[in-house]
Assembly symmetry: C2
Homo-oligomer: 374 residues x 2
């Protein structure tokens, strides 16, 4: 079960049910899978220095093509030595295609068969993305893993999803043609199709013809229910090859990570841990905790007594609550680092449980406690 695209070989070391523990080799290091990737939208995981990402076991960081194209510009990043040098993260990087942001953040002025013309959310300037342009930008950025340009629609409107699937297939072929060399950057295809089995199947079949070094599932966790997402994963994952990494885009809720790893997902990314940190929320084994609450004011325990991050080793809930209430930047940093560490350790434990064949026990115990369903 080893993928052939050196240096992007993917090894599945152990399966347990449909879950897999593996390792994905890249030019900037090997990624133990399953893996959770924190998001550095603007070439920085918000409020977290790269050396702290190493300290908490991050092995893959995602950055955004759309944002970096607009600011500081992908040509500038290339001139500065590429994204690894620019942001001083020497581990593996994945860039998305810009498709999701073009459709969610920018003001679209024109979408056609060839690409999308849009206005920047920063200054209103007009830009155009096509599959070829997305490839060129991602090549300038220089991430290890790059994504085919896709259209990510509302997952429950069949008419729209149908068009998006066909467009995404056509665009993936053009990305494949524009990106000749998978030995430097591995181009992943993106499966779309919303919650519709036949469209997911249609998308998967077309992508398999491209023999990508990995496959993503897009268009989930964007409005459908959790049961619909899990059912869609149940249907779609068996359609993807066993010997390639499978990446569930934009999913980072701790319960979703568990449900998706059980179903065979290898890679995740999400802004959730850093975004909720900036709102003063902490991930704990007992669920999401709002650190603003008065109940923490006199609490000398760490945010998460079971966590090994710097903040939990060093500071009390009382102090974190003070930082959050006083709007101190250190609160953002400490909670961001903690929340990322929480998800990374959660995934690390599931990886170990796959080797130990105890995944079901771990997941049911985790979910019962995290979702407070005892």
């Amino acid at each position: 079960m080893t993928g052939s695209n050196l240096p992007f070989a993917f090894e599945v070391l152990k399966t347990h049910g449909r879950a897999r523990a593996g390792i994905f080799h890249t030019p900037h290091g090997s990624i133990p899978t399953p893996v959770f990737a924190p998001v550095g939208t603007q070439a920085t995981v918000k409020a977290v220095p790269p050396r702290e990402l190493h300290e908490i076991g991050a092995s893959l960081v995602l950055s955004n093509t759309y944002h970096l194209h607009l600011r500081p510009g992908d040509e500038l990043v290339r001139e500065m030595g590429g994204l690894h040098t620019f942001m001083a993260w020497d581990g593996p990087i994945l860039t998305d295609s810009g498709g999701f942001q073009v459709f969610s953040l920018a003001k679209i002025s024109k979408i056609d068969a060839d690409g999308v013309t849009f206005r920047s959310h920063i200054d209103g300037s007009i830009h155009r993305f096509t599959p070829e342009i997305s490839m060129r930008i991602q090549e300038n950025l220089g991430a290890d893993i790059i994504m085919a340009f896709d259209q990510c629609p509302v997952p429950t409107d069949r008419g729209i999803v149908e068009g998006a699937v066909e467009r995404t297939i056509a665009w993936a072929r053009r990305c494949r043609d524009a990106h000749a060399d998978d030995s430097v950057q591995a181009l992943f295809g993106i499966n779309q199709g919303g919650i519709f089995d036949d469209l997911r199947a249609r998308s998967a079949k077309a992508l398999l013809d491209l023999d990508c070094p990995g496959y993503a599932i897009g268009g989930l966790a964007v409005g459908e229910s959790k049961p619909e997402m899990y059912r869609t994963l149940d249907f779609t994952l068996p359609l993807l090859p066993d010997n390639k990494p499978r990446y569930l885009m934009g999913v980072g809720a701790a319960d979703d990570l568990a449900e998706a790893i059980v179903r065979g997902i290898d890679i995740f990314d999400c802004v959730l841990p850093t975004r909720i940190a900036r709102h003063g929320s902490a991930l704990t084994p007992d669920g999401v905790v709002n650190m603003r609450k008065l109940q923490h004011a006199h609490d000398d325990r760490p945010v998460d007594p079971e966590c090994d991050c710097y903040g939990c080793r060093t500071f009390s809930r009382a102090y974190l609550r003070h930082l959050v209430k006083a709007n101190e930047l250190l609160g953002h940093t400490l909670l961001s680092v903690h929340n990322i560490r929480f998800l990374i350790r959660h995934v690390e434990r599931m990886r170990q449980a796959i080797f130990d064949e105890t995944l079901d026990d771990y997941v049911s115990a985790f979910l019962q406690r995290f979702l407070q369903t005892a």
Copy 2:
């Protein structure tokens, strides 16, 4: 020349002109002097974790009585083990008296011989500070060095300064009486008097009677010109005992540190390095650099090629400019750490130059380059 108040012994190890290199012992460690103390107003040096303060050689941190009394409350800090435990800074801490903030930040409702009644700048609630209350709050906070409650007036209005000097003397005596034990916390007196020699002398004489373990000069760098400040230091410093540390409050401009160390100051604090960092400015040997400027966009050199801080060892000016332009929190952290390190190293070099008897050469070369007066 060793002060007698154990554990707060102050040793002058070397003098060079009026400048002194020494060491000030405290229950939480010994402070090499001269020293620059970064300010952690709300029990956190803004955007900088305490372990990074250790890394850049910080040996003393200042925190604010006024802010901590209002939020989270000094009783709570005491309950959580005191300020050292609360903010996880195990080195020496100095708290100010609250006097400066009461007169600059709060809305005063009543000032009388006994104290000040004021409204919180946070929620408008009514509070009262007296010398005794300031002592009780600072004892709750538990800093190593605490300050007498003072009135810091506009330094050039003689009538107002005169009243403030008398009030500050009376309040210092009451602080002395309220704070019995200098073996746990060293109570410093504050010299006031604006730019008026006779008032500075009157203030100094009265404070000497209290035999404080250290003396601060307050009411400078608050509106008077730099020559007026330097002249006031020239006059006032010889009035203070040689064998006690001398603290110039709220001064942190790199040129002022040099001018004041030459004149015999041992301790400084200022929000300047962290405040200008949040505005995107960096301290460099060539002056203050605005990182927003286009000239840095393609510059692959560090912010300060001569600096040894994490940011300067790791990132380019181009990246820092991007972070600042994109309003990323990491930019605040990296520039704050750099700017504090710049001032600490500047002071470290002057300390070494005192031992080497090369202080004048260092200072004139530094000022010429920093102030661009070549």
